[in-house]
Amino acid sequence: MKKWMCMNCGWIYEQELGDPIGGIAPGTAWEDIPEDWKCPDCGSLKSEFEMEEV
């Protein structure tokens, strides 16, 4: 399966779960996440994420 992963820390964005603490509702598509959203674990920007096979 393809998912988005933070390349600084390995945190994985799962669309079903979203990031409620970071203001991203469950079900939000990756494309719809604002550019200033940050990785909840390490604070990297969205641009630091890459699509990965997990």
């Binding site: 992963m5 390349m7 600084n8 820390c9 909840p40 674990d41 390490c42 604070g43 990297s44 997990v54």
Partner: protein
């Protein structure tokens, strides 16, 4: 096949780094009442964390101007503002002397560049594979040593060995060299108390890794070292000093921490038998159990940052040039975030993440590996040691220390296979 390089032991063969290590982590039975008191004084409190718990002088940091930062929000603020709260100046005089130019001693942009290369080798999809190939054989071999007896000290016979043996497997260490390797790895940290064996150990491990890298570059395999020795980012390889420093740090950052994390996980479960039973019957609870153990008794109770400019936290000023004891343990037991914070309860519903692996750019690079290791270890224990319980005839486990907390023994009984 070329022979792997040989490690050289310390000049003074009788020197026992493990004894000296105990001195620097202390024997404080429970630092948490004091940590709560300090937090109640405010988010920024004058002084050194360590001085609250031990009289053993800190020759490298003790004389420096310092504050403690306490409570979840304040600690998170420090960790996620790396341009103000820097690593370089905070770690160069201690970790930097022991290990060299490791990523812990770097700030952006240098840190960002190297961190990404190292992290590639420790991404979840990579380390999950090591669970079966590297971790399971180590775990099973150790358990074979006591499974027939119906009793064990899970610290002395299990947790104190397995994360280190996972590292030996990854650096393909000759088993005969393991005791010297472990001794040198611990001795390196003693630079922080001024012991001359510290730099001696750092030098000897460095020479060993330099030779290992030379061999792996000439003849790369599929192992971690070959991978790190040849990996490129933007057409550039990791410089030798950065790579060797990382390998020097691995036993301490990955071994000492996972040893303690696993020990407190088992202690938490064994002292709460109803939670042990629940996890045993429903293995999907294991991730929650691991996170609760690390929140409750995280091995790294406090870390350092250096305040590079005049700033404030929740209205409390911190002057440029101040060293900041960032008390992770106070964040993880902050009653504003975790109800009844001193209780071990794997069923708690958290609204925030614990900070046992820190946060921000220096967030633990090995957390996915640590989780794989702890999961494999716990599963094996639950599978292979039926009716596991504390040994009623032995003292109850007591977690001690103000930093790198761990119980000295964890005596258990179980039904023989």
């Amino acid at each position: 096949m070329t022979a792997l390089p040989k490690l050289e032991d310390l000049e003074d063969k009788s020197f026992d780094p493990f004894m000296v290590e105990k001195l620097s982590t202390g024997n404080c039975p429970d630092p948490y009442p004091r940590i709560h008191e300090l937090r109640q004084q405010g988010p920024v409190v004058e002084g050194s964390y360590r001085k609250n718990f031990t009289d053993v002088p800190d020759v490298q940091m003790g004389h420096l101007p310092q504050v403690m930062v306490l409570g979840y929000d304040a600690v998170l603020h420090v960790l996620t503002h790396p341009e103000v709260f820097r690593n370089k100046e905070a770690f160069a005089p201690n970790l930097g002397r022991s290990f060299g130019n490791t990523i812990t001693v770097m700030d952006a942009p240098e840190h960002t560049r190297f961190r990404k290369i190292f992290q590639k080798a420790f991404l979840p999809n990579v380390v999950t594979k090591w669970g079966e190939t590297v971790v399971d054989p180590v775990v099973n071999r150790l358990m074979d040593g006591f499974i027939a007896t119906g009793e064990a000290d899970l610290i002395e016979q299990f947790t104190h060995h397995y994360p280190f043996q996972v590292i030996y497997a990854q650096v393909e260490l000759d088993p005969a060299q393991a005791p010297v390797f472990h001794k040198l790895a611990i001795a390196q940290i003693l630079s922080s108390i001024g012991a001359p064996q510290g730099p001696e150990a750092s030098g000897k491990l460095g020479a060993f890794f330099a030779e290992l890298l030379r061999q792996k570059r000439a003849n790369p395999g599929t192992d971690l070292i070959s991978h790190l020795a040849t990996v490129e980012a933007d057409g550039e390889r990791l410089p030798d000093d950065v790579l060797i420093s990382f390998l020097r740090q691995l036993m301490n950052a990955g071994g000492d921490t996972t040893f303690r994390g696993t020990s407190v996980l088992l202690t938490g479960l064994l002292t709460h038998p109803e939670q042990l039973r629940a996890v045993s019957e429903d293995r999907s609870l294991i991730p929650a159990a691991i996170d609760e153990a690390l929140r409750w008794e995280g091995p790294v109770t406090s870390t350092f940052r250096y305040c590079a400019q005049d700033t404030e936290i929740q209205g409390h000023p911190i002057k440029a040039g101040t060293f900041v004891n960032t008390v992770l343990a106070s964040a993880n037991r902050d009653p504003a975030k975790f109800e009844n914070p001193d209780a071990f309860n794997i069923f708690r519903k958290n609204t925030v993440r614990h900070l046992a692996f820190a946060s921000g750019p220096h967030l633990c690079i090995g957390q996915h590996l640590a989780r794989v290791e702890m999961t494999r270890a716990l599963n094996a224990i639950l599978d292979r040691l039926p009716n596991l319980r504390l040994d009623p005839d032995k003292p109850a486990p007591a977690i001690t220390g103000h930093l790198l907390r761990v119980p000295e023994h964890l005596w258990v009984k179980f039904d023989r296979a």
